[in-house]
């Protein structure tokens, strides 16, 4: 019983974390119809910045967010203009984006090796005091609870942005019909650049907490995060940012339970579920609504 409930609770934490890890990838695909294969590398860079801030200034990860979010938002905005509008003009933006961001991904991995070396690094659990907290009789690392809380807060902010602001309304309009949005005066580049900036900032924010809840940070781990994020948004529904949460819950429970009951299968079962979803519902679990929200 205890193991079962442990897996259940841990999977909730994983689901919250995986949601913000993958959300930005889906936002970019939904708005721009391109795939950012360097998504995981931005997550890793966010992680390295948080580790550097903790090492140099003793910042705990929540404080580090005040630096990481604006820095990566700015990086996203600056990268958008030289990269994305050109892709949109190509005959097949989706395929071109695969190739372009594949290159960006490897360039960033090489940069990370130069800057931070190849060894694994992690934030220390003792950045939070106390190190453990008890919730409903379960003792767990404070870092995990904070990770989940920050993830839920980030999801709420994204929901507010998409569904309660004029910018969000125009962002959703762009996801539904690009030509019509342009005819109605929506500035495609401004709205897309902001979405791209948010996407990079979300990935980097997930990176701040990634060494607590998933893998230690290393230059090569970015590919794994891109792969997991991609699997999650396909399970949920490609192009529908909020369906990411559904994909993350499915992925997290598959991962969480196999990790406890059959650890050797924990990196296999979630992807078997991915294959099953692609075969049974290629549009994803919430696919019917992929372009209607």
């Amino acid at each position: 019983m205890s193991l079962f409930v442990d897996a259940f609770v841990t999977s909730i934490l994983y689901a919250a974390f995986f949601s913000i890890a993958a959300l930005g990838l889906n936002l970019v695909f939904g708005v721009m119809r391109i795939v950012n294969l360097a998504h995981g590398e931005f997550l890793v860079m966010g992680s390295y910045l948080a580790i550097a801030l903790a090492d140099s200034y003793g910042f705990n990860p929540v404080v580090s967010l005040a630096v990481v979010v604006p820095v990566f938002l700015a990086i996203g905005l600056l990268l958008y203009f030289p990269l994305v509008p050109r892709l949109q003009k190509s005959g097949d933006p989706e395929m071109s984006s695969f190739i372009l961001f594949f290159g960006v991904s490897y360039a960033m991995e090489g940069l990370a090796v130069q800057l931070f070396g190849v060894s694994y690094q992690s934030l220390q659990y003792n950045l939070f005091k106390p190190i453990h907290v008890e919730i409903l009789g379960y003792v767990m690392p404070t870092a995990w609870v904070v990770t989940a809380a920050v993830s839920v807060a980030a999801l709420a902010l994204v929901y507010f942005y998409l569904y309660r602001t004029g910018l969000g309304l125009q962002t959703r309009a762009l996801m539904i019909n690009r030509d019509e949005a342009m005819a109605n005066g929506v500035n495609i580049n401004a709205v897309s650049a902001i979405a791209f900036g948010f996407s990079i900032a979300l990935a980097a924010s997930a990176g701040v907490f990634s060494s607590f809840i998933s893998y230690p940070t290393s230059p090569s781990i970015g590919d794994t995060f891109t792969l997991i994020s991609f699997a999650i948004i396909i399970i949920g529904a490609l192009g529908n940012p909020l369906a990411t949460v559904v994909g993350a819950v499915v992925f997290a429970y598959a991962y969480g339970y196999t990790e406890i009951y059959a650890a050797n299968w924990s990196s296999i079962v979630p992807f078997i579920i991915l294959i099953a979803v692609i075969l049974a519902r290629p549009q994803g679990l919430l696919g019917r609504k992929a372009r209607e929200f």
Partner: protein
């Protein structure tokens, strides 16, 4: 150039491969004009609207809005300068509510506060007869309501030149009547309008001034009552024998 022209279309050519869809079309709109653009299927009416609104770029010729060249500008830039359109087959943002569709046009590319838009949104919804559907998903509207929403969205951007593409197509008589009445209301708020139409009875309710296109060329320009007597126009619509 006549200094008073709102929109000038000068020698517009548009080709799709070897097909010349527009072969040097010219026309001019003055303030207050409503121009009926008529012609058989495939004559180039919608292509011309697409070129003026920016969905297509011309291969030759120029477009001037109040004397300013606009033919290389993106659709959203033209929309900001005052050119907007409706679509023959309307494409509302189907997953959004009717009100949200209007809000996008009212925001018009600004990042403003939607709460400030309430009064104007209500006025436009009322004009289009869509008040009671405000919170309905646009995808659930019927064809006539979607066309009204399309027009309402275009109006919300406060266009100076409105291009109306076959609004009456697919509507029954009473729906087409309602649309004609609405267009007469709309003329008060825009500087000039081009109304593309296939249905001749509809166009004469909206305007007297028409341009007739055939195979991408202007074959008649003048009053509607003269157009129906014109031999070239009759030939295009009825065939060489004079027809039925």
């Amino acid at each position: 150039m006549d200094g008073g022209a709102v929109l000038e279309v000068n020698g517009i050519v548009k080709r799709f491969g070897s097909l010349e869809a527009l072969g040097g079309v010219s026309l001019s709109l003055q303030s207050g004009d409503i121009l009926g653009l008529i012609g058989p299927n495939g004559s180039g009416k919608t292509t011309l609207i697409n070129v003026v609104s920016g969905l297509l770029y011309p291969d030759a010729g120029s477009l001037l809005l109040y004397g300013r060249r606009i033919d290389r500008l993106s659709p959203h830039r033209r929309s900001h300068l005052g050119v907007n359109r409706t679509f023959q087959i309307p494409h509302p943002f189907t997953g959004l509510t009717v009100r949200e569709n209007i809000d996008i046009s009212l925001l018009f590319g600004r990042l403003g506060n939607r709460a400030d838009l309430d009064q104007r949104a209500e006025d436009i919804l009322k004009l289009a007869g869509l008040s009671e559907f405000s919170e309905h998903k646009a995808g659930n509207l019927n064809t006539s309501q979607k066309k009204m929403l399309d027009l309402a969205k275009a109006l919300a951007t406060e266009p100076k030149v409105l291009l109306v593409d076959e609004l009456a197509a697919g509507l029954n008589t009473s729906e087409a009547e309602a649309v004609a009445r609405l267009l007469k209301e709309v003329r008060k708020s825009v500087d000039a309008m081009i109304v593309v139409e296939h249905v001749m009875n509809f166009i004469k309710r909206v305007t007297e001034d028409v341009v007739v296109l055939d195979a991408g060329k202007v074959i008649f320009s003048g009053k509607f009552i003269d157009a129906v007597k014109d031999s070239k126009v009759r030939e295009v619509y009825l065939g060489k024998a004079g027809g039925t």
